[in-house]
């Protein structure tokens, strides 16, 4: 017995001892992820965070959907279309000015754009005054982050009005900050863009490998746009003039070449959201856009037929203006003539093929021939043209129409490309407004052009309280300090 006991005691002590020796060491488990504390240790690491800051700009809810749903469909340029009233009911509600706090896409866009802002702030915080990051990289990446932060904020402000400004990584006590005034938001956008401009490269100085990243011109153009939205005409004129003077950009000689894959980041591109289709990338969208399939005619059984141009918009084009056929598909139009992709499109109501067609028109801009689309019909590789050079002339013209400067020359620059000669409209503002409508038709501009120039009444059902859309209920639930919009 004694022997057994002493053996046992030894065994027990060994077992207990083995297990109990260093519990704290036992609990030190390896961390298989990279923490933010050690992340920003090299230029390469900093650069690997940059794609994530651009990333939300390409996401589905805003640049592939809401931007045109508001910019075109809510405006008088287009109607919703699609498969009847019940198809995309949210877009129907937006179009008919009956959006509510529960309109889901508003909530999705709010969240997505703030993810972009947060990612910009995270990169800025990670590299600012970080001795492991070279000065050049710090400068350029901070400038790009500020440009994107301004872009996201701008996008939010024109949908919702004043929003909470977020210029740093928030701590919990700041999570429920209230909305800033719209003036404060504009000031923030301006200051970010002014800070970004000097540290961003000129497009001409950029290697082909970097094409698509923000440039001095991107920031300057967005700032001009912000001036225009605020009615700061002299500032807008000066900056537009500076952009034109920089000779960084050129109009694409053929208007019809503006919305083809070959002119992605082309001579007229000031800021493109980058799209690309990768082979064998089913399921998720990858880096493509589904705006095209939304807007493709339903007649082919593939497209969804949204964003149908109105007759009123069709009539806006002057006789002989080729921009109409590059903007609107009419019934029986032949596209990509003479190529293997040649196709005749029927856009009119047809009980068998196109029972839902409403206006009898479809959108032309952005439609790609079959050979240029991705393997999946809902994936389009065409960059989203956010800002193109022609608009700089139109800003210059609009600003000068207000300040009394030479508004005709910039308009001519735009018109001469499409061989249209001087504008027949004598009223400067009316001429600019007309030119914007046709030059930038169905490029997600019209709604904001109308409301910022007090012409909202051109839209049926619009009243001034509808200018900004409802703050999503989900966000007001999470942050009771957010006030409602008087929608």
């Amino acid at each position: 017995m004694k022997k057994i006991f002493s053996y046992s005691v030894i065994v027990v002590c060994v077992l207990l001892g083995l297990q109990a020796c260093k519990p704290d060491q036992f609990l030190d488990t390896p961390v298989p992820s990279i923490t933010d504390a050690i992340f920003f240790e090299s230029d390469a690491a900093a650069l690997s965070v940059l794609p994530g800051v651009y990333d939300p700009a390409g996401w589905g809810n805003y640049s592939q959907y809401l931007q045109w749903a508001i910019g075109d469909v809510v405006s008088d340029d287009a109607v919703k279309g699609g498969g009847g009233d019940g198809d995309q009911p949210q877009m129907y509600d937006l179009e008919h000015f009956q959006a509510t706090e529960q309109t889901a896409v508003l909530e999705a866009v709010w969240s997505d754009l703030y993810v972009g802002i947060n990612r910009a702030n995270k990169l800025i915080a990670g590299i600012t005054d970080n001795s492991k990051i070279s000065a050049d990289v710090q400068k350029r990446l901070i400038a790009e982050s500020k440009f994107l932060r301004a872009y996201y904020t701008f996008s939010l402000v024109r949908i919702f009005g004043g929003i909470p400004i977020v210029d740093h990584i928030l701590v919990p006590s700041e999570y429920t900050n209230p909305r800033n005034t719209i003036e404060e938001c504009w000031a923030f956008i301006e200051s970010d863009l002014k800070a970004a401009m000097p540290d961003l490269p000129l497009k001409s100085a950029m290697s082909a490998d970097d094409l698509g990243r923000a440039t001095w011109g991107s920031a300057a153009a967005l700032l001009t746009k912000a001036y225009i939205y605020q009615g700061k005409w002299p500032e807008a004129d000066a900056l537009a003039t500076e952009i034109i003077g920089s000779k960084e950009y050129h109009l694409q000689p053929n208007y019809g070449d503006l919305f083809i894959v070959e002119t992605d980041n082309g001579m007229e591109s000031i800021f493109d959201i980058q799209r690309k289709v990768f082979p064998n990338a089913p399921y998720d969208m990858g880096e493509a856009t589904y705006a095209e399939i939304y807007q493709e005619t339903r007649w082919d059984g593939i497209g969804w037929g949204f964003d149908q141009p109105t007759q009123d918009f069709y009539n806006e084009f002057e006789t002989g203006d080729i921009r109409r056929k590059w903007t609107i598909i009419s019934d029986g139009d032949t596209l990509w003539k003479g190529t293997p992709d040649e196709v005749i499109i029927y856009t009119r109501q047809d009980p068998v093929h196109n029972p839902d067609a409403i206006t009898g028109y479809n959108k032309r801009k952005g439609q790609l021939p079959a050979s240029k689309r991705g393997e999946l019909p809902d994936q389009s590789p065409l960059n989203t043209r956010e800002i193109r050079y022609a608009e700089v002339f139109l800003w210059q013209a609009e600003a000068r129409a207000h300040t009394g400067g030479d508004w005709q020359s910039p308009l001519d620059s735009v018109r001469f490309r499409v061989k249209m000669g001087h504008t027949p409209i004598s009223d400067p503002l009316a001429a600019v407004y007309h030119e914007r409508r046709v030059e930038l038709g169905l490029e997600s501009q019209r709604y904001w052009d109308l409301v910022r120039t007090d012409r909202g009444n051109l839209m049926e059902g619009y009243t001034d309280n509808k200018r900004y859309f409802p703050i999503p209920r989900i966000q007001r639930d999470l942050n009771p300090n957010l006030t409602k919009n008087p929608y």
Binding site: F39, S48, P51, Y54, H96, Y175, E287, R298
Partner: protein, 1001 residues
């Protein structure tokens, strides 16, 4: 010795066995009988108190045990009988007649890291009646728990075969993970469904802190202890059981037929000045989409074979089980094949070793995801009933009325298979060091390998429902869990005092690794769908992750009883977790409980009517780390935040979450009072308990406002919550006559209150629905996750009523009026009730006469609210989707209807679709869970057939359900910590009829 050779597991220790015949031992043998019937009892356990040595009687009631000279006592115990302790003295033959004890108070039950006499318990522990369980034809152990124990709420999250079941002990202890811990033969696991219900010997539910404290943080939400069947000494016992049944949805969809829907759709269109869809709806056909996706008379079957037995030095148990279930929705099924083996071996008088091993393979085919947009269960309700399933050419139809997916096509094109292989087991050794002092070491492991496969073919239904590239996703997960527990147990009795003490350590490691491969461009032939046949296999997309969690604990317990009347239990546990930052890892959790056996006092001993009466009180603290991830104290980078420049994809990183270095243990303090009684010759017994559970430092994953840009909300220790409740269990049995019967019932109330939300201002929003709104809010001072939305106030009957208010614009007569209580011109979001029930209850009854037996179980919940998600569509005024049949009651003119549930039909309406009390329904239900009629062949007949027992039975499950809820099923479970009672188109429960057979020989 021959039999021992069977134990391949112990080849290593064979040499030890050979010299295992220790001198000085003497053998005691005898026969155990039932005192009333003189029936010989098999399976009675005979142990030397204070040691781990023990045997059980064979089928003839005979036992034989070797004792040492110093052993003076033998304890005889058997479930359902009063245990007896007999002095050995010089006897070599001890025959015992055991007395049946209908209250089971002297039953020995398994408590954490040991056993205890039920009558000595001071904590709150309930025992599940296994006999009834084995007759209930349950497909899983968690299902077996349903309606069995007061305070244990089991709800199926759906009727999907093999679907998870949520088990809540005493309500929601925390906003976090509230799943209880399962302990199977000493092995701690997080799920229980790998156990074949037929293998269970006993099941105990530990409810209060003093009972669970020994398990520390892992037992924070209660512990369910399972002991599986073991072999007993004697001839091998072979048991065969099998059943076969058919299942159908207990309720079909309650949506309209084609003509009725079209009539209302016309009405909606005309109301807004549009043209009707068809001039004459009455000629339209009807498609019953729910029926089209249903698999009618789905089969369910179970075959189970077990062999058990034992020799002089050990026992064995071996079982094989095959369970197959087809789903009541097409292309869903679940199949389980398991093999279980355990054995114990008395290697030396001072050493006992044993093991449990389970090998398991499950295969399931799941339905497409059930969401509120395109899920087939939802679209089967909402797709218009006019469109047929297929076109004339056999292809699937597009609806010309809306863009709702064709649910039959969704299911047809969805191919999912999940295969899981699991090996679970433990090996243990008990070493008697001194009289009363035992060292026990237990090493357990769990290895799970899972392979989930999704294949999507090329298909085209219509514009919105199409896929142009076939794809295959293969996910592999590997989970490896190791746990090592070492304890020292000491028992001692002197005079009126008896002490038992335990101390030990425990380490736990959980490794998880997963990887996924997605390829596209696959051949059409099903068998050829493999990764290497993909045309795009050189551009496969891959993902993977790895995590490790560890925990280390010290544990101790002291049981003390004085005169066998006054009882004390005290626990202490220290837990350290790798999920927290160094310095926050460790916390300490004590508990105490007291018991007083009032019926042993002289003044009650003479009261005949009272057989036993015990008062209990306990207090204890436990830690919980909830569902905190392995590295949530850190802000970590995620890949996949990619963007393109220069025409090239630049892979990028982002930081979607925010680490919280302050994270620490959440703590739950429970105070428990209980009374156990048994009266009227022990025919009536019961337990009444009252408890208060306070959770502080609650680990909350609070949704962060969008403006933070945070994608994964961080955990925080914030807030405090209280649960209190009364639990009542009663049982009445009468076994005196040939006709025997018993009734049992459980009743529990749970009062939940969030005491504070700590740093969180205002409230927590949760359960977002279709991005429209959060359905639930949690405020301090109120119960968790209450429904919030607009409150309806009837319907506008005329323009004058509309003009009398300012809050609602663009409304017409027949639209819903919402409450603007403060008349500020804005509608008020107010509380619309709680998804938590006021009380839950269950009943069971069984009768037997001669060979016949009849038993039934009812179960119900009362007072909870449910959000009927599909009703957002099926009760929409727009009639764009198919309508719930009750919408025929819609408003059609002034005075025709004023119930806000039935507004007018109007295309493109938004007013009537707001989240409001219109979609919140009474979720109370009462369900006849099982009804079973059995017949056992009499002994004369069975013995002629060389059988010891044979029983056949008919069983019905979910026979009848009574509820006012208009959705498919009111039993929808708890989907997430802050999402309770939200129906997003649930897979309904099946009603099953089956025929079964049990044979023992």
């Amino acid at each position: 010795m021959k039999k021992l050779c069977l134990y391949l597991f112990f080849i290593m220790v064979a040499p030890v066995l050979l010299e295992g015949q220790t001198k000085n031992m003497k053998t005691i043998e005898g026969t155990i009988t039932n005192k009333m019937t003189n029936e010989k009892l098999a399976g009675v356990s005979i142990v030397v108190p204070g040691s781990t040595r023990g045997v059980t009687t064979n089928i003839d009631g005979h036992y034989s045990i070797d004792v040492q000279p110093m052993d003076s006592l033998l304890q005889f115990s058997f479930i359902g009988y009063s245990a007896q302790v007999i002095q050995i003295k010089n006897q070599t033959k001890i025959n015992v007649a055991l007395v049946e004890n209908t209250t089971n108070l002297d039953e020995v039950i398994v408590v954490g890291y040991g056993t205890q006499k039920k009558s000595d318990l001071t904590g709150s522990i309930s025992t599940v009646n296994i006999k009834e369980l084995s007759e209930r034809n349950v497909s899983s152990v968690s299902q077996a728990l349903q309606g069995q124990v007061a305070g244990v709420d089991v709800s199926s999250s759906s009727g999907t075969p093999g679907a998870g079941v949520s088990i809540r002990i005493r309500g929601i202890g925390t906003i976090n993970n509230s799943d209880p811990l399962f302990v199977v033969d000493g092995m701690m696991v997080n799920d229980i469904d790998f156990v074949n219900p037929d293998d269970i010997e006993s099941m105990q539910v530990l409810k209060d802190a003093s009972a669970t404290a020994i398990y520390g943080s892992r037992g924070a939400n209660g512990v369910i202890i399972l002991t599986t069947k073991k072999g007993s000494k004697g001839d091998a016992v072979v048991n065969f059981s099998s059943y076969y049944g058919i299942q159908n949805a207990w309720r079909s969809s309650n949506v309209m037929d084609g003509p009725t829907w079209a009539y209302l759709r016309n009405e909606a269109l005309i109301a807004k000045g549009y043209a009707p869809i068809v001039p004459d709806p009455s000629i339209l056909p009807t498609t019953n989409w729910f029926k089209e996706i249903s698999n009618e008379n789905a089969s369910i079957s179970n075959v189970d074979l077990s062999i058990s037995g034992g020799g002089e030095k050990g026992s064995y148990y071996l079982s094989v089980n095959q369970f197959d279930q087809e789903g009541i929705i097409k292309k869903t099924s679940y199949n389980r094949l398991s093999v279980r083996s355990n054995s114990t071996l008395d290697v030396k008088p001072w050493l006992k070793v044993g093991e449990n091993i389970t090998l398991l393979k499950t295969t399931s085919h799941m339905p497409p995801p059930s969401d509120e947009w395109t899920g087939p269960l939802l679209t089967a309700l909402v797709r218009d009933p006019v469109t047929s399933v297929r076109n004339d050419d056999g292809s699937f139809t597009k609806s010309v009325f809306n863009d709702t997916f064709n649910p039959v096509a969704t299911i047809d094109y969805y191919n999912n298979a999940n295969i899981t292989y699991r090996t679970l087991g433990n090996v243990f050794a008990d070493i008697s060091l001194l009289k009363g002092l035992v060292f026990k070491t237990d090493y357990s492991f769990e290895y799970t390998y899972s392979d989930a496969r999704d294949y999507i073919p090329v298909y085209y239904v219509f514009n919105a429902q199409q896929n142009a590239i076939s794809s295959l996703n293969d996910y592999y997960g590997k989970n490896y869990i190791l746990q090592w527990t070492n304890t020292l147990n000491y028992e001692k009795k002197f005079g009126n005092h008896s002490i038992s003490a335990l101390a030990g350590t425990e380490s736990f490691t959980d490794n998880y690794k997963e990887s996924g491969i997605a390829v596209s461009g696959l051949p059409k032939d099903w068998d050829a769908i493999t990764i290497d046949n993909a045309s795009g296999n050189n551009s496969a997309r891959v993902n993977g992750s790895y995590s490790q969690t560890r925990q280390y604990s010290f544990l101790a317990r002291l049981n003390y009883s004085f005169k066998d009347k006054y009882l004390l239990t005290s626990n202490f546990r220290a837990d350290g977790s790798s999920k927290f930052l160094k310095g926050k890892r460790w916390d300490y959790f004590p508990s105490f409980s007291l018991g007083w056996k009032l019926s042993e006092e002289p003044f009650l001993k003479s009261v005949d009517i009272i057989n036993s009466l015990k008062l209990r009180a306990g207090w204890g603290q436990i830690g919980n780390q909830g569902s905190v991830g392995s590295y949530d104290y850190l802000t970590t980078a995620n890949s996949g935040a990619d963007y393109i420049w220069g025409g090239v994809l630049h892979p990028g990183y982002s930081f979607p979450g925010v680490g919280n270095p302050e994270l620490r243990w959440e703590k739950t303090t429970t105070t428990n009072f209980g009374v156990d009684f048994s009266v009227l010759n022990s025919k009536l017994s019961g337990t009444i308990e009252y408890y208060i559970r306070n959770t502080t430092g609650m680990l909350l994953q609070v949704p962060t406002p969008g403006q933070t840009g945070i994608q994964d909300s961080p955990y925080q220790n914030a807030g405090e919550m209280q649960n209190s409740g009364i639990e009542l269990s009663l049982e009445y049995r009468n076994m005196d006559h040939a006709f025997t019967y018993s009734f049992g019932g459980n009743f529990s109330t749970i009062k939940n209150k969030v005491v504070s939300l700590g740093v969180i201002q205002g409230f927590i929003s949760s359960a977002s629905f279709a991005n429209m709104a959060y359905l639930e809010r949690t405020y301090s001072g109120a119960p968790i996750a209450q429904f919030y939305g607009y409150k309806t106030d009837g319907l506008f009957q005329n323009q004058a009523e509309i003009d009398a208010q300012t809050a609602q614009k663009n409304v017409s007569p027949g639209d819903i009026r919402y409450v603007d209580a403060d008349k500020n011109g804005e509608l008020d979001v107010v509380s619309l009730g709680s998804p938590l029930p006021d009380f839950t209850y269950s009943f069971n009854a069984s009768f037997s006469y001669k060979g016949f037996d009849l038993s039934t179980t009812f179960q119900g919940v009362y007072g909870n609210k449910l959000f009927n998600g599909p009703a957002i569509y099926t009760k929409s005024s727009t009639a764009a989707w198919n309508l719930s049949r009750d919408m025929i009651n819609r408003w059609v003119g002034e005075g025709t209807q004023n119930d806000a549930r039935y507004p007018r039909m109007a295309a493109n309406d938004v007013n009537n679709g707001y989240i409001s009390d219109r979609f919140i329904e009474d979720g109370s239900y009462f369900r006849i869970k099982t009804l079973q009629l059995g017949y056992s062949l009499n002994k004369d007949l069975t013995s002629k057939m060389h059988l010891s027992n044979m029983r056949i039975y008919l069983n019905a499950q979910n026979l009848l359900t009574f509820t006012k809820y208009t959705g498919l099923d009111p039993e929808i479970g708890i989907n997430g910590p802050l999402e309770i009672g939200v129906d997003r188109g649930v897979y309904p429960q099946g009603r099953t009829y089956s025929l079964g057979l049990n044979v023992t020989f």
